[in-house]
Symmetry: C2
């Protein structure tokens, strides 16, 4: 194949990298572990961001912006948080460079050493709760519902484009509440917002649940999550929402006077999704021909390729297609007319297939005569001639159909990849041969969880919401188990 | 006054800080020189960003994202750039913390020292041109028109909220072109985009011009700028657009094969505006009662305050005002109904005056009977009773009128604050007593420019576009001068 994409069956991991790089989503950078998000990838992220941002605002949240840099001592204030985050961090120790006296470019000025080192935020709970201390005095100041779109840095030794990078883009919501119940409700609500977004926009079915204690966010009382399944049978955590209890309020001494005039610590949540979702989208829907974009977030929903010989034919096509482009735009469709004459139609077909554009129209002089356009769907790769008359409405329907089809396909894959097992031997076999989620009884201890991870590389992805408390025996230890949980190997 | 805002005449600088802090735009943070942008301030920035983003896309630019961190050696590659930027930078030297063996929280792990230090971007020319090297081979890859919304860090010893902070938010456009003429045209076009934005949205008249050599961006061949005037007579650089020649292409070896099959270095521009514009907007329009927001970017354009006693009156008001809110929203107006019963109308009036909401409606039961609302303009503080019937359309007009009025007022101030002088004594007198721009003949040398700065703290703000080459004598040295330039004391 001219696109030179590694087939999934040959090397799934290489297939993914090929798509991200050749599809124009991202590129490696000169800084280890940091990527460049290219215009096509960034347009996808912008579409995702805009939908999420509206969902956050519709649920009463406001955006704000907190500093990139966090004093080192802040990380130590919440005991569990420091264990989880104060490790692989980028540390700023100096604030000035100077010319190398020996002529070797610039060097760090040893005299410009910071008294206290600053950490590039790996997440912002600490700096935000240190600020909330000044903003919250009374129950009248609550709830405080704030979100931030930001870059964060977590030093990673093994990185993968979008899925795991040292710097990534994300949003982090940080809310403060007067009661525990309200904070728990908020954490659940935002998990549901994420699930709705993943399913309705990314066409990505997810399983809602809570994390086991060892997989929880560092500093959380409970972590709600949505877990998605990739085509190779590995799970991917697509979003988390944390009920933080009063942990951060206590660490940063944030108290409020209630209606009853008593001082109480504030209840907190935090929740986030990141550019990782781009990786999830790529892995969930794409095929050996290239990316497959769900129409609702696709940067380009429809591409039109003119087929012609010579300027006269081109001129006639330009006029009719120009009108069509206007029609499609007025119908709210993101359309591109690619009349670049440096490349041939066949090359363009392959290019937009690679880029995963949901619908491709090809129109030549004969088509104009017949009043039709050749319409090709990216998802099924079916083609049909459709009348130009009323095409915008047909394409709107088609885009919705493609969106629905991608979701159904992914849902079918997910549904057929949750396997119930009761013994450890079958567990290993399913992981190795079939993949996906394995629903198995667990004795509820971190020791068993750790042991299973060591033996199989599978982790507890979540304890599904409304999980039946069926009882049973742990598949590994044989000890009593209260319920089944979902294991999987994961990204 | 209950709001406790320092009057401009008493202490202009304190007045500004009062507005930013008490108006809810920003707050100090725990990190020296870094600010927290509060929800109201961030909503203002979002409105500004959205308008600019659309203007950039309408002129053919795409967004992308490049790494936060830049290898130290990159800064040394462009000779002038290193002088300007490789100084007050935040330097990342380590990538890990560890628990203090002596129990004192966390400490930097000395074993996790980076081989080469990383700099938090003060601007991204170097990392971007290092990337463009891989993206540009042929004239077919040009022009490359890319913009990035990002945070940057420039260590500053003396900071002021929005105007000068160590970290700030901005956009930086970085374009690559096949010819010098095209790059110059791009730099000029983006200066014009900024000027249009400042004038049409921020109601901020600006003077377009080029910088003198010593005020140019480090690495630029020419810097185009827009300069605004604040109420205290000091100038503020509101945006810059740089023609970079082939400097960065040469530094990072970015060449392309032209149509003639010859290799040539690529021509470049870069251009940016930042959250500094929030400071400019505050200083240009606000008064001793608080902020004054230009309607087109105001987070809240209209606030409605109900005037009532008891739940029965409230209920009647809620119903009618609910309908009005819908009407206003449908007309595209950003409206807030403040029916919070924790505070009294008088307090709310003062609060929204402080926040600079362009239009305030007050509605009580008597008003409903008469079918009117009390409409108060923030800019002139005039009040009038207007019929509820057809109010949305009247308010749309009123918002436009306020926008226009703010611009005209600022324009009048600017026009009456450009003073032509020919001798140095008058120059000093004008600076001290009147302020504003001083148009004076300059001999064109950096020495004279520097001398004037030393003596008066005034700098050359710009050489206006289409400046008449009138000839004359430098006001300080008496040497021949080709043209007048604009001096001012500046932020």
């Amino acid at each position: 194949m001219s696109k030179e994409i590694t087939a999934r069956a040959v090397d799934y991991s290489q297939w993914y990298n090929d798509l991200v790089l050749k599809g124009g989503l991202a590129d490696y950078s000169a800084v280890k572990g940091c990527m460049v998000i290219k215009p096509y990838g960034f347009a996808l992220w912008e579409n995702m961001r805009d939908v999420l941002d509206k969902m956050f605002k519709d649920t009463g949240h406001q955006n704000a912006y907190f500093p990139l840099l966090i004093p080192k001592s802040f990380l130590s204030k919440e005991a569990a948080h420091v264990e989880g985050f104060a490790k692989e961090c980028a540390v700023v120790t100096h604030y000035r460079l100077k010319n190398d006296p020996n002529g070797g470019g610039v060097v760090v000025d040893p005299e410009a050493k910071l008294e206290e080192e600053l950490i590039i935020r790996p997440t912002s709970e600490t700096i935000i709760w240190n600020t909330y201390k000044d903003w919250i005095q009374s129950y009248r100041d609550l709830p405080l519902l704030i979100n931030q779109w930001a870059n964060v840095v977590r030093w990673e030794m093994r990185t993968r484009l979008f899925l795991r990078t040292a710097e990534f883009l994300w949003q982090e919501g940080h809310t403060a509440h007067a009661t525990e119940a309200e904070a728990v409700e908020e954490a659940q609500k935002m998990m549901e917002v994420y699930a709705t977004f993943a399913e309705n926009y990314l066409a990505l079915p997810v399983i809602r649940g809570t994390k086991s204690e060892s997989e929880r966010f560092a500093g959380a009382v409970d972590t709600y999550c949505i877990e998605a399944l990739m085509q190779d049978g590995k799970a991917l955590q697509a979003g988390t929402s944390h009920f933080l209890g009063q942990n951060f309020a206590k660490a940063f001494d944030v108290q409020f006077t209630g209606k009853d005039n008593k001082l109480e610590y504030v209840w907190a949540t935090s929740w986030g999704v990141s550019t990782r979702l781009v990786g999830a989208l790529v892995m969930a829907h794409s095929d050996d021909e290239g990316l497959v974009m769900p129409p609702r977030v696709a940067p380009i929903q429809v591409v039109i390729v003119p087929i012609y010989k010579g300027d006269d034919q081109k001129k006639v096509l330009d006029e009719r297609i120009g009108a069509l482009v206007q029609e499609l735009k007025q119908a709210g469709i993101r359309v591109k007319y690619d009349d670049n004459d440096n490349s041939r139609p066949g090359w363009k077909f392959a290019e937009y297939e690679l880029k995963g554009v949901p619908v491709r129209l090809a129109i030549g002089p004969r088509d104009l005569e017949n009043g039709v356009a050749e319409v090709a769907r990216r998802d099924t790769r079916e083609k049909a001639n459709l009348p130009l008359e009323g095409l915008a409405a047909r394409i709107q329907d088609l885009l919705e159909e493609i969106q629905h089809n991608l979701y159904q396909k992914a849902l079918h894959f997910q549904e057929t990849h949750v396997t119930q097992v009761d013994d450890f031997e079958t567990f290993q076999k399913v992981l190795d041969e079939k993949g996906g989620f394995v629903s198995a009884p667990w004795d509820g201890t971190a020791e068993t969880e750790e042991k299973i991870k060591e033996l199989t590389k599978a982790t507890i992805r979540c304890i599904p919401l409304n999980n039946p408390k069926e009882g049973g025996k742990d598949m590994l230890t044989g000890k009593p188990s209260a319920e089944r949980v979902l294991f999987a190997r994961a990204y």
